[in-house]
C-alpha cells in the first residue's frame, strides 16, 4: 500500500491552525462562534473547521482566518491600527444584512471575523498570486460605510501578501469619499503556505 505523505509544510500549517482555533475562546472558555459550532442554515453562515476539513478549493484560505487573527492578536503586524485581543472578537463567519443600504449590489456581506466594536475583517489568501480583492467588494464596503446608520464601523482586509496596486488605489478613492480611512489593508502578517 502506498504511503501518502503530506506536502512540505502541511504539518506546520495544520498545527498553527489548530493552535489558533484553540486560542479563540470567549469568556466562558467556549470556542468563539463560527469556528466549530455554527450549523449551516438558511442564513448561510459557514462553519470554519468544516470547510477547512473538506480540503477542497479554498480550504487553506479558510484556515488562514483564525491563523491571521491569532497573528494579529500576537502583535504580528505593524499596520494594525490598534492592538486587539481575543476578547474583542464577536464572531467568525457571520453574514450581515446590508439589503437596505443604497446602491449595494448584494443583500449580505460576510465578515470572516467581526469585532465587538463593529470592525469587519475580510481575510484574503492566495498561494499562487496576489491576494484578490475585487473592485466590487471595495465598492460595496464603501457604500455600507457611507450609510448612516452604519451596520459596521470600519473594514480591514487582512492578506498573506501585497494586493494589486489598482485595488489600493480603489481603496484610497473609497476612503476619500468616506472622509476618513475606514478601509485598510493589513498585508504584513506573513504567509501561510
Amino acid at each position: 500500500m502506498p504511503i501518502r505523505t503530506s506536502p512540505r509544510g502541511a504539518c506546520e500549517r495544520a498545527a498553527e491552525y489548530m493552535k489558533a482555533v484553540d486560542h479563540m475562546r470567549d469568556g466562558s472558555n467556549a470556542v468563539i462562534s463560527g469556528l466549530l459550532d455554527q450549523a449551516e442554515s438558511v442564513l448561510g453562515s459557514s462553519v470554519n473547521m468544516k470547510r477547512v476539513g473538506n480540503l477542497g478549493a479554498g480550504s487553506i484560505a479558510e484556515g488562514f482566518e483564525p491563523v491571521a487573527m491569532k497573528r494579529l492578536i500576537d502583535g504580528g503586524s505593524a499596520k494594525l491600527p490598534r492592538s486587539i485581543t481575543r476578547a474583542d472578537i464577536e464572531a467568525f463567519g457571520k453574514k450581515l444584512d446590508v439589503s437596505s443600504v443604497p446602491g449595494v449590489s448584494t443583500a449580505t456581506i460576510e465578515a470572516d471575523c467581526l469585532l465587538k466594536d463593529g470592525t469587519f475583517l475580510d481575510m484574503k489568501h492566495s498561494r499562487t498570486a496576489d491576494p484578490f480583492v475585487s473592485a466590487q467588494q471595495v465598492e460595496n464596503l464603501k457604500k455600507v460605510l457611507a450609510f448612516d446608520p452604519r451596520p459596521i464601523q470600519r473594514a480591514w482586509f487582512v492578506t498573506n501578501g501585497p494586493v494589486d496596486p489598482s485595488v489600493l488605489e480603489k481603496i484610497r478613492q473609497a476612503n476619500e469619499f468616506l472622509g476618513e480611512d475606514l478601509i485598510k489593508v493589513i498585508d504584513d502578517i506573513g504567509d501561510f503556505q
Binding site: Q38, A39, S41, V42, L43, G44, S45, E90, A91, K94, K95, L96, D97, V98, S99, S100, V101, P102, G103, A107, T108, L114, K116, D117, G118, K142, K143, A146, F147, D148, P149, R150, P151, I152, Q153, Q173, E176, F177, L178, G179
Partner: protein, 295 residues
C-alpha cells in the same frame, strides 16, 4: 408601478425601530402621554420643536402626503469626493435628517435618541401585505455611540422601560423591534411572504401575547401553529425559573410584562448580523424569523 429597489430603500426609515401596530387611530391624548414618558426619562428635549408641532406633522404625515422622497430627493450623483459623501448622507432617511426635515421632537436617554413617527401611513410605501396602511406608531432609535442599539441594547434598562410605558399607553396589538423592515417588504414584493402580516413574524424584539389555550392532549410534536407552540411554551416563558430552563438559551432577554404579555429578545440588540439563533428561536415558537427573509 410599485415602489421598489433603491426608491423603496430611500423612502423607508433607515434606523432600527420599535413598532406598535394599533387597532384604531393614534389619538392626540395618547401622543401627549408618550411625550410625557420621554420628557420624564430624558429630562429635556433635544429639539426646539414643540409637542403640538410634532403632533401636527404626524397628522399631516398620516395622510400619506409627506413620504420621504417628496421632502428629499434620492441622491444619484457621483460618489467620489468627500463633498459627494456629505451630499449623499444628507439624503438618507435617518433620524438626523428626519429632524432636519420634519418638526419632530427628539429625546436622548442613555446613548439612544428616540423619535416618534408613523410607519407606512396610508400605505405610502405601496405595499401589498394585509393591513398595509394601518396605524403603526414607530419609535425610531438612533444610537449616538456605535453599538448602543445594535450590540448593547440588552444592557439599556431605560429602553425597556420606555417601550413598556408606551405600550401601556397605546395598547397595541403587539410590539415588534428590528434593525430594518426592508427584507420583509422585499419578501412581500417578491411574493415570498403572503398572506402573513409583518407582525406575525418573530422580530429580534417581540412582545408575545398569550395564546388561546392548547388542547389538553397536544404536545410539541403535534404543534402546527404559532398558537399551539406558544400555548405549550407559555408557562415556561412566564416562569420565574425561566433562566434555568433549556429554552432560556434561545433568548438574551425575557421580560414578563403581565399575565398576557411577554417581551422576548433573541440577541443583544437590533443588529444587521444574521445569526442562526433567530431562526432557531422562531421555529421553537412556531414562527418565522425576519432574518430568514434576507435574500
Amino acid at each position: 408601478m410599485r415602489l421598489q429597489g433603491e426608491d423603496l430603500k430611500h423612502c423607508l426609515p433607515a434606523n432600527p425601530s420599535v413598532f406598535f401596530p394599533l387597532s384604531g387611530e393614534l389619538k392626540r391624548k395618547a401622543f401627549e402621554r408618550i411625550m410625557g414618558v420621554l420628557d420624564r426619562q430624558a429630562g429635556r428635549r433635544d429639539t426646539t420643536a414643540t409637542a403640538a408641532e410634532h403632533w401636527s406633522a404626524l397628522e399631516e404625515r398620516n395622510t400619506g402626503s409627506k413620504r420621504w422622497d417628496r421632502l428629499v430627493a434620492r441622491y444619484s450623483g457621483p460618489t467620489e469626493s468627500k463633498e459627494d459623501g456629505i451630499r449623499q448622507r444628507a439624503s438618507f432617511h435617518n433620524v438626523g435628517n428626519v429632524l432636519a426635515q420634519r418638526p419632530y421632537t427628539a429625546h436622548t436617554v442613555e446613548g439612544i435618541q428616540y423619535v416618534v413617527d408613523l410607519f407606512n401611513p396610508a400605505n405610502e410605501l405601496e405595499m401589498p401585505y394585509a393591513g398595509a396602511g394601518e396605524t403603526v406608531v414607530a419609535l425610531l432609535l438612533r444610537e449616538l455611540e456605535f453599538g448602543t442599539v445594535q450590540y448593547r441594547l440588552v444592557q439599556n434598562a431605560p429602553f425597556y422601560r420606555i417601550v413598556r410605558e408606551i405600550a401601556e399607553i397605546l395598547e397595541p396589538e403587539c410590539v415588534r423591534g428590528t434593525y430594518s423592515m426592508f427584507p420583509i417588504l422585499v419578501a412581500y414584493l417578491e411574493g415570498r411572504l403572503n398572506p402573513k402580516r409583518p407582525w406575525e413574524l418573530l422580530f429580534p424584539l417581540s412582545v408575545l401575547t398569550k395564546p388561546a389555550a392548547l388542547a389538553p392532549s397536544a404536545d410539541l410534536s403535534t404543534c402546527r401553529t404559532t398558537n399551539d407552540s406558544l400555548a405549550l411554551l407559555w408557562p415556561m416563558l412566564a416562569s420565574p425559573r425561566f433562566r434555568g430552563l433549556p429554552l432560556a438559551r434561545l433568548f438574551k432577554k425575557v421580560e414578563v410584562w403581565d399575565e398576557n404579555r411577554i417581551l422576548v429578545q433573541v440577541w443583544n440588540g437590533l443588529e444587521s448580523v444574521l445569526r442562526d439563533e433567530y431562526g432557531e428561536a422562531a421555529r421553537t415558537l412556531g414562527m418565522s424569523a425576519v432574518q430568514e427573509l434576507v435574500a
